[in-house]
């Protein structure tokens, strides 16, 4: 009887551990929402670093192709002060697929956000008047937090790298 209870207790503990680890794993992959108020704070939080913000979405084929290349860029220039942040523009219907994709490319190691603006037009316009909200879109900030360049559409990674190295 005692052995049976011990076995039962171990089983329960094992189940609890699996349950807790699955919660922890899910939470690690949660994308933090960013809106028109928190975006400037996010950028200013990287002062002293060169920051590349990547707006992407799970449905955006060129964005998906670009992400692994950005991960390599981050690895190459992290020691020199490059930080890359991803912001998913997925709507609620597709955003659940975002963490899995980020993980598959190694981009889950980068700070990951999801765009949840109260007014999308204002958010997009405030970020860059030339941006329509189309993807892919990358924004490069210098070490003072000033936006110095934007890349819209498919952009050769060498062009992005050249712009980054000028700022490092």
């Amino acid at each position: 009887m005692r052995a049976a209870s011990r076995e039962e207790a171990i089983m329960r503990l094992a189940f609890l551990l699996v349950f807790l680890s699955s919660i922890a794993s899910a939470q690690q992959l949660l994308l933090k929402p960013v809106d028109e108020v928190s975006y400037p704070r996010l950028v200013s939080g990287f002062k002293g670093k060169v920051l590349l913000v990547d707006f992407w979405a799970t449905w955006c084929v060129p964005c998906r192709a670009e992400l692994p290349q950005l991960v390599k860029l981050q690895a190459k220039f992290k020691a020199r002060g490059l930080e890359i942040v991803t912001i998913s523009a997925d709507e609620p219907e597709t955003v659940n697929a975002a963490p899995k994709f980020l993980k598959s490319t190694g981009a889950d190691a980068l700070p990951a956000y999801v765009k949840r603006a109260k007014d999308d037009d204002k958010f997009i316009g405030a970020l860059d008047p030339k941006w329509q909200g189309a993807l892919p879109a990358l924004f490069l900030y210098d070490k003072t937090g000033k936006k110095v360049q934007a890349f819209f559409g498919e952009t050769p990674i060498a062009r992005i790298e050249a712009a980054i190295t000028k700022l490092l």
């Binding site: 955006c60 084929v61 709507e91 999308d120 997009i124 316009g125 909200g133 189309a134 819209f152």
Partner: protein, 179 residues
């Protein structure tokens, strides 16, 4: 607001550009425009956002063609061939013609950056509405029917209340220009 005004005042003269049918015949915009209003719709067959708007485009086309509005659907993406568009249009049972804009001349003329991106022009050729069809890819969450409301306003001889919604979607895949 200022860039919008600048944009709207910049495109006051009637647009003039040439498109191509999927079979390769040239066609002028002036031959496609409507007597009351014209919607020039830049779409992308490989853009999921553009695809998501397919049924709304069909509905707008059916509703407003009957009211005298002409629709000019344009594919200016350099990575989407006429043959691919033809296959897509057949499979998706697209009821309207799609024109090819080679070297994105029409897109350059209109300043198009995105698919899907709409331009509503009145009979005089003035752009009265520009941008997205509405404000949400998921139809259930739409709050502002930008294009539909603007069409109703223009047909009623009024000024659209909302003149622009950001045209979210895919960046237009422009042809590489010889420099």
């Amino acid at each position: 607001m200022f860039p919008l005004l600048l944009f709207l005042t910049a495109v006051v003269e009637p647009p003039s550009f040439q498109l191509s049918t999927l079979q390769g015949a040239s066609v002028q915009y002036s031959d496609l425009k409507g007597a009351k209003a014209t919607v020039v719709a830049f779409i992308g067959i490989k853009c999921p956002v553009s695809q998501a708007y397919q049924s709304r485009m069909k509905s707008l086309f059916a509703t407003y063609t009957a009211k005298g509005v002409a629709f000019v659907f344009v594919d200016a993406n350099a990575n989407e061939s006429a043959a691919e568009i033809e296959v897509y249009a057949t499979q998706a049972r697209i009821p309207f013609p799609i024109y090819k804009d080679y070297n994105n001349r029409a897109a350059d003329r209109m300043g198009t950056q995105t698919t899907p991106e709409m331009f509503l022009l009145d009979a005089a050729g003035e752009v009265r509405y520009h941008g997205a069809i509405d404000d949400a890819t998921n139809e259930a969450r739409v709050k502002t029917h930008g294009l539909r409301d603007a069409l109703d306003a223009v047909l009623a001889g009024k000024d659209p209340k909302v003149k622009e919604l950001k045209a979210f979607g895919c960046v237009l895949h422009r042809a590489k220009k010889q420099s």
